[in-house]
Each structure stands twice: as structure tokens, then as C-alpha cells.
């Protein structure tokens, strides 16, 4: 991707992909989403398994942003 790379030579960290980082920042803070008992998963109340599931969410989104904003020269 990174087709929005401007033709100028100056380097920049700007990228539309960076907005994706907002997802794992906002979602784990919305307690309304996960502050409940049901459904349980393997005995875990939703409160616990959902928050643990946000960890892979954070990893994947951060990884995508890293891959997509990697500089051409490396």
C-alpha cells in the first residue's frame, strides 16, 4: 500500500494507517462493552475473557500499522 506517499523527498510519519491505532486505544476503555457476566467462555465471565481478547486486537492493529508505514528504503 502506502500509495499516498507524496512525491517530495522529505520523510514523514504521517499516514492514514495511523488512525487504526485508535481502535485498541478506545475499545478497551469502553467498560459498557464488557462489564457483564454473560456469556461465559470456558468458565470466564465476559468481563475477563473479553478484556484478554483485546490483547490480540491490540497486537494485530499495531502490527498492521507497522507493516503499512514501514519505510521503502528498508
Amino acid at each position: 500500500m502506502a500509495s499516498q506517499e507524496p512525491p517530495e523527498t522529505r520523510r514523514t510519519d504521517r499516514s492514514h494507517w495511523n488512525w487504526l491505532l485508535l481502535v485498541p486505544i478506545v475499545i478497551p476503555l469502553l467498560t459498557l462493552l464488557f462489564n457483564k457476566e454473560e456469556p461465559r467462555l470456558a468458565g470466564f465471565p465476559a468481563f475477563y475473557w473479553m478484556q484478554l481478547a483485546f490483547i490480540p486486537l491490540g497486537v494485530v492493529t499495531t502490527l498492521i500499522v507497522y507493516r503499512m508505514t514501514k519505510r521503502k528504503e528498508d
Partner: protein, 531 residues
């Protein structure tokens, strides 16, 4: 103590093993000389992705976290789980900021966050405030690592302060000799042990307690029977906002701590940092599972030693594991205290050297003199931490650590926002820092904790009703203080700019913030300003 002989032997063996590694670390990756802060204090600024992952992970997820978080879950339930969203949110939050910090530090040779502030805002005063804030916030954090070791020793029946003094003397000696290389090397052992212990614990202990469902049910039953409305396996209407804000505020604060920045600046290039922002949450998973040990302790009917709830996890291990494996688990916690304690003392020492000694005492200090001063100060810092624990009530360190989190947040406008924009006026940043600090301290002072029988410094959750809001909700003090700080900094900047008050010069260029390894460095900085 005799009952715990096997545990003591295993613990002692592993402890001595990593101590040996600490001394050998001086020769690891062969520096030509240890006589500069780049080598002693930042390990040569050359750590790759793997070493950085172990180092930063070992640095941020401390022994105290590993005993205090499950202790909190054991005592209060869901609220203690805030550590999980906190350590998920933090990496995407700082992703773009840290790479800029790395770049500008690479170009200009900055060792501390205060070095950056000094150059960015041309203000030694603001840099001094950032440095002092960092040192004050870090000191009690080091002391808390001792509490982590002490919890383990207590569980093995070892009492008295001598073992702690010996452990810290060894730590001080090899940190003095090897600098940041010592914790970087030890972090491998620490993290392997922690992962091993936790994987075994979450597979083995629930099978003995009837499964995860039973564990959560037991916890629900316990909290339902207590009179405290704030506990439970779920959050309630009053503490949800505090939960989210505590996670958010702690995430904002984490990479303002000088020891976190030391770990970041030791990386060899930007990609190492970016990759680690994606890979470090692996530790958050471990932390989440460790937090759940608190519920396992409830289900297992674990009783902490005396009134020290921090001993809950060590006692649980002792109950559940064969003694040789308990020894391994204790060693994991004990060694887990050494890595962050070493990095924190290095970071605090570097702040003193760069932003107090070199700035105010000896302006023409050579690199060798800087390294020598830093090494000595790292010893002083550790003696101070031990003295804190021995001479004062440990509760005092815990209170100080609570305050530390709130005050380190007050450096956010200068350090983190300063990396993104040069809009703020140095005078306004100083005013904002002072306002946030004063109000934050006052709010903390005002919070009682009836459960512990304390009138002041009883926690960090402030009742919004005290501010005139018609609600039962509470909120993390750090976020309130930071809001005032920002307000003052913004208004102050508008006023000072309108009044055309002289601002400091910016010694950095916008290109510096996107530089990568291999780009030219500025060896001698021409710093201006005397405010």
C-alpha cells in the same frame, strides 16, 4: 524456615546465577569503553528487537506489579483487572510519540527526557523540573521492588532485613560495573522463568480447584458476602469511569517514567521500537493471567501472612506447587525485582548527571566524568531505596508511588506534547506543571480510605460529587490534575504569546524527529537560553 529448605536452595541458586550474569554482562557485546553514558547508561544504544523486548518487558512489568495486582484482585476483584486495559492501551497510544523521541535523541545524543526538554524549549529550569519530577517518581518505585522480594522471603519464612540488604548490595555492585547491560542480560532469565511459572500456574492450579467456572463462582460468593460496595467480580456504576480513567491515565504516565525511556533509547533503530509496540502486549497476557491468581487464591482459601496482602500469591504457590517448583516461582518474582530496580536506578542517576550535575555543577564535564557520576549516583539511589523500606513504614512507599504516578503525568505537556508540537511557551509549561502538581497532591491528600482506617492518601479515586457533580462516580486523580495542567499551559501560552514574552529557542529541527539509524548525529549542541 526449615519447611521451606528446598524452596530456599532453588531460590538461592537462581539468584546467585543471575548475579554472576550481572557481573559478566560488562563484557557482553564488547564495548570499547564503559566510560560514557551511551555505553554504561544505554548499553551502547544498540539493542535489537529481541533484546529490547526482554529488556523493556522486564522493565515495565515489575515484581511489585506481579504481587500487587493479584493482591488487589484478591481484595477488590474487578477493579484490580485495570492493569490489563492499561497495558493494552499504552502501546498504540505511545507508538507515534516514542519513534519521534528515539529519532531526536539519536540525532542530538539525548540520554534523558529532560535532555530533550532542555533543547526543545531552551529552558534549563523546565528541564530541571522534569528531571526532579522523574527522580522523585522513580525512587519509591525502586523501594516497591524491595517489597516484592520481601513478600517472597516472608512466604519462605525468612524474616529480618539482612537478606534484602545483601540482595540489593549485590544488585548495586553489578549495576555499577555493567550498567544497562546487566538488567538486559538478566531480563532473559527473568522473563523465561515468569512465562514458565505462569503457564504452569494457569494450567495446573485451576485443575486442582475444579476449573475456572468454580474459581469465578467462589470469588463472586466472597465479594457478595462483604459489606464493601466497591468490590465484586464486575464493576459497578460508581467505579466504571474510574476503571477506564485509571487505565488511561496510567497508560499516559508509563512512558513518561525515566526508566521506560531508558529502555526505549537503548534500541538501535526506529523499527525495533515499532516492532516492540506490537510484541510487548505478550506481557500483558501474562499480567492478566497473574491478576487472576488473586481469584484462584480466593477459591483455594489462601490466607495472606499477617495483614500483608502482597503475600497472597507467594502463599498460594506454596499451597499448590511441589516445593522445588515453588522455589522456581519465588526466584522468578525475586529476579523480577532486580531488572526494573537496576534500570530505574540507572535512569534516575542519568537524570541527576545530565540535568543537575552537568547543567548546574560542572558544565564542562567530560563523558568519562558523566559516567563516573552516574555510577556513583546509582549506588546512592539504591541505598536510598533500601533506607526507605527499612526506616519508614512500607505503606509510605506505596503512598509515594501513588503520588509518583500523578506527578509524573504532569511532565506530559513538556515531554510528550513537546515531541509533537513546539506551540507551548516554556513559561506556560512551568506554570501548568506547578498547577497540576499542586492540585493533584491536594486531591490525593483529601482521599480517605475507611477500610484501612486512613484519613489521607487513601487511594487515587476521587469522588466527583466533591467537585459539585451530582453523581456517585469516582475518577482517577492523575487525569484531573493533568486536565488542569493542560488548561493552564494552553491559556498561559496564549497570554505569554500575546504579551510577546520571550520564549526559549528550539535547538531541534523538524527533520530530527524522523531521523533513523545511520543519519548524521549532532555531537555538540549549541544550547541557548538561561531561564
Amino acid at each position: 524456615m526449615k519447611d521451606h529448605l528446598t524452596e530456599l536452595i532453588i531460590f538461592g541458586f537462581l539468584f546467585l546465577l543471575v548475579s554472576g550474569m550481572g557481573f559478566v554482562a560488562a563484557r557482553w557485546r564488547r564495548p570499547a569503553t564503559m566510560d560514557s553514558l551511551d555505553e554504561w547508561g544505554l548499553g551502547g544504544r544498540n539493542f535489537g528487537s529481541w533484546i529490547s523486548w526482554f529488556l523493556i518487558g522486564g522493565d515495565l512489568y515489575t515484581a511489585y506489579t506481579f504481587v500487587a495486582v493479584p493482591a488487589l484482585v484478591f481484595g477488590a476483584g474487578a477493579m484490580g483487572f485495570y492493569a490489563v486495559p492499561y497495558t493494552i492501551v499504552v502501546y498504540p497510544l505511545v507508538f507515534l510519540v516514542l519513534i519521534r523521541l528515539w529519532s531526536v535523541s539519536h540525532v542530538h545524543g539525548f540520554v534523558t527526557p529532560a535532555d530533550f526538554v532542555r533543547a526543545r524549549f531552551g529552558s534549563p529550569t523546565l528541564a530541571l523540573l522534569v528531571a526532579i519530577t522523574g527522580i522523585v517518581a522513580t525512587m519509591p518505585y525502586i523501594a516497591l521492588q524491595l517489597i516484592g522480594i520481601e513478600a517472597v522471603l516472608k512466604a519462605m519464612g525468612v524474616t529480618g532485613h539482612l537478606p534484602i540488604i545483601i540482595a540489593f548490595a549485590i544488585l548495586a555492585a553489578y549495576t555499577y560495573q555493567s550498567g544497562l547491560r546487566a538488567p538486559a542480560l538478566i531480563a532473559f532469565v527473568k522473563d523465561v522463568l515468569i512465562y514458565l511459572v505462569i503457564i504452569v500456574a494457569v494450567l495446573y492450579i485451576p485443575s486442582k480447584l475444579g476449573g475456572w467456572g468454580d474459581i469465578f463462582d467462589a470469588a463472586e460468593k466472597k465479594f457478595a458476602a462483604t459489606p464493601n460496595p466497591g468490590d465484586g467480580t464486575l464493576l459497578n456504576g460508581a467505579n466504571q469511569l474510574n476503571y477506564a480513567m485509571l487505565a488511561f491515565g496510567s497508560a499516559l504516565a508509563l512512558f513518561l517514567y525515566p526508566h521506560s525511556i531508558t529502555g526505549v533509547l537503548a534500541s538501535k533503530d526506529r523499527n525495533v521500537i515499532k516492532r516492540n509496540m506490537a510484541a510487548l502486549p505478550a506481557y500483558s497476557l501474562v499480567l492478566g493471567l497473574i491478576a487472576l491468581l488473586g481469584f484462584m487464591a480466593i477459591a483455594a482459601g489462601t490466607k495472606p501472612i499477617g495483614t500483608d496482602s502482597n503475600t497472597v500469591v507467594p502463599v498460594l504457590f506454596d499451597q499448590m506447587f511441589p516445593s522445588w517448583f515453588t522455589g522456581v516461582a519465588y526466584a522468578a518474582i525475586g529476579i523480577g525485582a532486580l531488572v526494573p530496580a537496576a534500570i530505574m536506578s540507572i535512569a534516575a542517576a542519568n537524570l541527576f548527571t545530565r540535568n543537575i550535575y552537568k547543567e548546574y555543577i560542572r558544565k564542562d564535564a567530560t563523558e568519562k566524568q558523566e559516567a563516573t557520576v552516574s555510577k556513583l549516583v546509582s549506588l546512592v539511589v539504591k541505598v536510598g531505596a533500601v533506607a526507605c523500606i527499612l526506616l519508614l513504614d512500607p505503606q509510605f512507599s506505596i503512598d509515594l508511588q501513588l503520588i509518583g504516578g500523578v506527578i509524573i503525568l504532569q511532565t506530559l505537556p513538556a515531554v510528550a506534547l513537546g515531541l509533537m508540537t513546539r506551540w507551548f511557551h516554556r513559561g506556560a509549561l512551568i506554570a501548568g506543571w506547578a498547577a497540576g502538581l499542586a492540585w493533584g497532591m491536594w486531591l490525593l491528600y483529601e482521599i480517605p480510605n475507611p477500610l484501612k482506617g486512613k484519613k489521607h492518601f487513601g487511594g487515587s479515586a476521587y469522588n466527583l460529587s466533591e467537585l459539585g457533580f451530582d453523581t456517585k462516580m469516582t475518577i482517577y486523580v492523575g487525569v484531573l490534575a493533568l486536565a488542569l495542567n493542560l488548561l493552564v499551559a494552553i491559556l498561559g501560552t496564549l497570554i505569554l504569546k500575546a504579551a510577546k514574552v520571550k520564549d526559549g529557542d528550539d535547538a531541534t529541527k523538524s527533520d530530527d524527529y524522523v531521523a533513523d539509524a545511520g543519519d548524521p548525529k549532532v555531537k555538540e549542541l549549541e544550547l541557548t537560553g538561561s531561564t
